[in-house]
Structure formats: structure tokens, C-alpha cells
């Protein structure tokens, strides 16, 4: 064992990372077990860090960056770091990069993360691990700030959707939030186009009897990039809320008007029209 004097022995993961940083000769695996999918739009500041963590989740792994609507060097950086880059001049739309990335992936496990926040690989591995252990959809257990009387509308929507699905144990866990991982089987059942509407994908997964579980908590609320209120936050909120309602209507059309919940023996015909 090599050990230079006066230098403290580093933990395994740190040693590996420093070596990789020096020699950026990472290349996507030809037969990957894990595909990491990163939709990105103008994220040149963060993308390097994100890819560096992403490639450490598994030995056999590929990193796919869906660079859409980029006017900066996001794609070039990703390419230089050995990731597979899918370029689109036009912005694909919120969460639409997930569908495109999933179509281009070949791993048994699909891990989805965002390009705007760096999540350490130790916080990514549990999701991959859960799917490798036989899970189909491994969700982030993060609920958001819930120690208040009135919570953010999106948090409320997530909780309610899970309740309606008969999965209140999932609390606020949702495919809307990253990181999450799905199995290839789950991708086939859900359909890659539906990954663009994450609540809908979640509903389909639960309704199809896939193994959906909240496996690990990553407080993404704190990692999220601060954005100005004016930059489409309200619009985004409306899109996410509409997604939830759309997902619910899908569920109701595939079960019954009450989503399979009891009527407790109401004698409705006593009322008449």
C-alpha cells in the first residue's frame, strides 16, 4: 500500500473522485447497468459538477445529457466530460427532456436528476440500489416544508394525489421531484412520453401494480437554485398543478368516478334527479 508521510488517508470515494477529476477520461459504458438522465437548458455553471457525481453511482453507467434550447456551453462541457449529449436547438419544455433521455438510454436502471443542482453520489446510490434490488420506481422521500399550517400548493397536490391513489404512505413523494430512479420494466409500462408529465407517470405506475416506494430523502428544496419570482415560477406552479389534476382524471377514468373509494352504502336512487 502506498502512503506518503504527512498525508492523511482519504476515504475511498474521495480518492476515486480526485483521480477522475485529474484524468477526465470518463467514457460512457457500452453495456450500462445504470443510465443517468440529465435534462439541461443553459446550465454551464453546474453541469460539470452534476456529471462528475452522476458517473459515480455505478461502475457500469452512462450519462445522458439532454441539452435543449441551450445558448451557452452546456453541451460542449458535457461532451468534453464524456457524456452522451442529445442536442436540441429549441427548448423541449419542462420535464420533456426526461422522455427524450429515456428513449436514448439502454441501462436497466434509469436515474433522473436535474442539471441545476449538485447532489452527491452517496445521495444518488440509494435510488439505484433500490431498483437493482427489485423495485420499479424509487422516489425521493422529501416532503418539503410541512411544519406549517398552509403549505406550498404543489406539496398539497402531491399529498392529495397519493391519498387518492390509495397510497397515503408515500406522503408527498413524487416523480415530480428528483432524484428518482425507475426500472426498464417501469419505463415500458409507463411509456416514455408520459415521463414528461411526472404525476401522470406516477399514477400509471401505481395503478399498474408496479413496486413504487419512497426510498431515500434528499432535501432538494435547499439545493434548488434560487430564482427570481418573476421568472415563470407562478407559471410553473400552474403547470405542475394542472399535471396533478390531469393525472387524477386519468386515474378516475381507469377506475371509477370515486377512484375506487367506498360510498358506504349510500342509497342514491332515493333522491332521484
Amino acid at each position: 500500500m502506498r502512503k506518503t508521510s504527512g498525508q492523511q488517508r482519504q476515504p475511498q470515494w474521495k480518492r476515486e473522485s480526485s483521480r477522475k477529476t485529474r484524468f477526465s477520461a470518463f467514457r460512457n459504458c457500452e453495456h450500462p447497468v445504470v443510465s443517468v438522465i440529465i435534462p439541461a437548458m443553459n446550465e454551464q455553471r453546474m453541469i460539470g459538477n452534476v456529471i462528475r457525481e452522476a458517473r459515480k453511482v455505478h461502475e457500469a453507467c452512462e450519462v445522458i445529457v439532454v441539452a435543449n434550447g441551450c445558448t451557452d456551453n452546456t453541451a460542449e462541457i458535457a461532451n468534453a466530460m464524456g457524456a452522451k449529449v442529445l442536442r436540441y436547438d429549441e427548448p423541449l419544455g419542462h420535464d420533456a427532456g426526461r422522455s427524450v433521455g429515456a428513449d436514448a438510454s439502454s441501462g436497466q436502471v434509469l436515474l433522473f436528476i436535474d442539471a441545476d443542482m449538485r447532489i452527491g453520489c452517496s445521495d444518488l446510490r440509494p435510488f439505484v440500489h433500490a431498483v437493482l434490488q427489485g423495485g420499479d420506481v424509487a422516489l425521493n422521500r422529501y416532503r418539503g416544508p410541512v411544519r406549517r399550517h398552509q403549505v406550498h400548493p404543489v406539496i398539497l397536490a402531491k399529498h392529495t394525489l397519493n391519498t387518492m391513489l390509495g397510497r397515503p404512505d408515500l406522503l408527498g413523494s413524487s416523480l415530480t421531484a428528483v432524484p428518482h430512479a425507475i426500472s426498464r420494466k417501469a419505463l415500458e409500462v409507463i411509456g416514455s412520453e408520459n415521463l414528461s408529465v411526472p404525476p401522470l407517470a406516477q399514477v400509471i405506475a401505481v395503478h399498474s401494480g408496479l413496486n413504487v416506494a419512497a426510498v431515500h430523502e434528499v432535501s432538494v428544496g435547499r439545493l434548488n437554485r434560487r430564482r427570481r419570482k418573476s421568472s415563470g415560477q407562478d407559471l410553473l406552479q400552474q403547470v405542475v398543478l394542472d399535471d396533478h389534476l390531469q393525472a387524477l382524471s386519468w386515474y378516475l377514468s381507469h377506475t371509477d368516478a370515486r377512484g375506487g373509494h367506498t360510498d358506504l352504502g349510500r342509497v342514491r336512487d332515493r333522491v332521484g334527479r
Partner: protein, 372 residues
């Protein structure tokens, strides 16, 4: 267990002080009840109401007015109503109206030497109550007695699957029209049946298993009759714990309001009683919709009716605990969750079904958020 331990730990002095404080509070309460104008009322209207009540009561003593069977036709109710419309330019908040009403009754009783205990309200239209009950003979009698203190035209009592003497109790109340179903109809079906049987302009909905004071029921009628409200809901926001401790039913209620664009309503819901609805709204959306209260709420808001949370009555404390409605994931919770599913499905059909611009919206969000 721990509570007992704490008690034995307190010193005699603390205990004495506590008893003293309790006694003082009790005295204060009786004093307030004895006179509506004491305790720093602040408003000149209260004294005026007392005086007007006295004059009306005195006139009633002189005229030997015949006693009416129904409170709504009584001399007290009609003179109060007349006096309010003659003196006040606009209708005050219920908090003031409640005290004026109490002062007027006090003055009236002093003037007439009577012991009227009603809650007179100035009403523009007629009001009625719908009470749903099954086997609630213990609480039904006092509940109906409280309702009879309000200026109601009639009370529709929908009894279903009753296994005790509820029916004979109801017969002793002159205002009550009882509808009897030998079998259980299920939750909230009685509301539809009761609503169909009344043509009143304001309909108050109550349950027979909980006794609520007339003063706490009056604000719902008051908001619909004079306040231009079409659905006056019980405002439960003050009784809720933090979100993480709220149950799933509360989440559903809040979410429905959010999806309807009315997050200001919090978790207020037509599922909870008491609430009052306007007759015109019931006739428009259909009395049969009241069987699924959240759906009726969604329809009311979608049709542009005014829905407000007007008054807070703590129904958690008084609610009877049964095998079906306690614990997590109980049958009643499942029922209410299903009701909200129906309501949200209706919302989707009416508002979103013919819209397909989500793709464009997603792109706009992405460009606005991530453009350099």
C-alpha cells in the same frame, strides 16, 4: 397518568389560587349573561337595542299580544326585524348583530315580563333547517330546541335507520316536519332529501348528533340571507394542526379549494356542518348533488356562486366517536376521499377537458426559467 401526577405536585397555594380564578370566571360569565350591555360593549347600538327591546316588550304587555306558536311569527322577532331595518342603514357584522339581538331580547323580557329565549334576526327572506339523524335521541331533542330559538319557517328532519325513540322526540316539536326512512340511506343522502322538501330562501344544514347553540348557527343564516353569500361554510382553519399532522381528509379538502382557485377557503368544506346554502343555488345545481358535498361545493364555485367561510364552530370536540370514524384510514375518511375524487373529476370535466395547450405551456415555462 401524567396529568394526575402534576396535580398532586402543585402546592396548596397554587390550588387555592386556581380555584379562586375559576370562581371569578364563573361569576363573570353569569354577569355577562345577566346583562348584555355590561362588560364595556363600546358600541352605542347595544344600548339602543336594549331600549328598543324594552319599548317593544312594554307595548306587548299592554296589548296582551297572543302568544304565537312559531318563533318566526312572534312579536319579538317581528319588532326586532322592523327596528333594525328602520334604524340601521346597512347590515352590521354578525359579531355586533349577535350582541344587539341579545340586548334586544333582554330589554324585551324586562319590558314584557316574559322569558323569551330566542335569537331574533332581521331576515329578508325565509329560512329553514335540514337536520339529518339516525339514532340520536340523546342529542336530537336539545338540538331541535336550539333550532327553534331561530326565526325558521320550518325544520325538516330526515330520520333514517332509526333504532330508538328519535321519531317520537321529534313529534313533540311543532316546527319539525319529520321524514322517516326505516332503512339507513347512507351519509349525506338525507341532505338532498331534506333540501328538496323546502322552498326557503336560506337553508341551514345540521346533524342530529351534535348540539350547537342557536347563536352559533345564526351567523350562517345571517350570511346567506343578508350577506349575499350562497354557501356559508364552517371555517375550520383555526382548529387545524400543522400540515404534517393533518389527516388525509383535510389535505383533500384543502386541495379541492386550491384546484378551484379558492385557496382562501383553506380546508372549509360543505362536508362539515353546520353550513347554510341559498335556495336559488340549491335549485340551480340540483338538490341531488348535495349527497356528495364536495361535488356540490365544486359546482357552486364553478357556477360562480359566492362561497365563503363565515364562522367557526368547533365540531371536532362535539362529534360523536363511533367505530367507523376514528383512527387512521377509517371508513368515513375513505368515503370523504372518494367524494373529493368525484368533485375533482367534475372539475376536470368542466374546466380542463377541452384544453390541450399543456405542451406549449411547458415550453414557455422552460424558456422563461432557463433563458440566459
Amino acid at each position: 397518568m401524567t396529568g394526575k401526577k402534576v396535580k398532586t405536585g402543585t402546592s396548596a397555594r397554587t390550588r387555592r389560587r386556581r380555584v379562586g380564578r375559576a370562581r371569578k370566571q364563573a361569576v363573570f360569565k353569569t354577569k355577562r349573561r345577566a346583562s348584555a350591555i355590561q362588560g364595556g360593549s363600546g358600541s352605542p347600538w347595544i344600548r339602543q337595542a336594549l331600549q328598543a327591546g324594552w319599548r317593544a316588550g312594554n307595548a306587548a304587555r299592554d296589548a296582551e299580544a297572543e302568544t304565537k306558536l312559531l318563533f318566526v311569527e312572534s312579536h319579538l322577532q317581528s319588532t326586532f326585524s322592523e327596528w333594525i331595518y328602520a334604524t340601521m342603514k346597512s347590515m352590521p357584522e354578525y359579531s355586533l348583530m349577535k350582541r344587539m339581538s341579545a340586548a334586544y331580547v333582554q330589554g324585551y323580557n324586562e319590558g314584557a315580563g316574559s322569558i323569551e329565549g330566542g335569537v331574533p334576526l332581521p331576515l329578508q327572506g325565509s329560512a329553514a333547517a335540514v337536520v339529518c339523524a339516525s339514532s340520536e335521541e340523546d342529542s336530537l331533542d336539545p338540538m331541535l330546541a336550539e333550532l327553534e330559538r331561530l326565526p325558521l319557517k320550518h325544520i325538516i328532519l330526515v330520520l333514517n335507520g332509526s333504532r330508538d325513540n328519535s321519531y317520537s322526540h321529534a313529534r313533540s316539536h311543532p316546527l319539525v316536519t319529520a321524514v322517516y326512512y326505516p332503512e339507513l340511506l347512507g351519509h349525506d343522502v338525507g341532505r338532498s332529501i331534506g333540501a328538496r322538501l323546502t322552498d326557503a330562501d336560506t337553508v341551514l344544514f345540521c346533524d342530529g348528533d351534535m348540539v350547537i347553540a342557536a347563536e352559533e348557527l345564526a351567523p350562517f343564516i345571517y350570511a346567506v340571507d343578508g350577506g349575499g353569500c350562497d354557501a356559508a361554510l364552517n371555517d375550520l382553519s383555526g382548529y387545524l394542526p400543522l400540515f404534517e399532522h393533518q389527516d388525509e381528509v383535510t389535505h383533500c379538502k384543502s386541495y379541492l379549494n386550491l384546484a378551484l382557485g379558492r385557496s382562501d377557503l383553506g380546508a372549509s368544506s360543505l362536508t362539515a356542518v353546520p353550513h347554510a346554502l341559498s335556495g336559488r343555488m340549491i335549485r340551480d345545481i340540483g338538490a341531488s348533488q348535495l349527497t356528495v358535498p364536495p361535488k356540490a361545493q365544486a359546482l357552486a364555485i364553478l357556477h360562480g356562486y359566492r362561497v365563503e367561510a363565515v364562522h367557526a364552530v368547533d365540531v371536532f370536540k362535539g362529534n360523536r366517536k363511533r367505530a367507523g370514524n376514528t383512527g387512521k384510514r377509517n371508513a368515513v375518511a375513505e368515503l370523504i376521499i372518494g367524494d373529493h375524487a368525484e368533485a375533482l373529476g367534475e372539475l376536470w370535466r368542466q374546466r380542463y377537458a377541452f384544453r390541450s395547450d399543456t405542451g406549449a405551456k411547458r415550453k414557455e415555462v422552460a424558456s422563461r426559467r432557463n433563458a440566459v
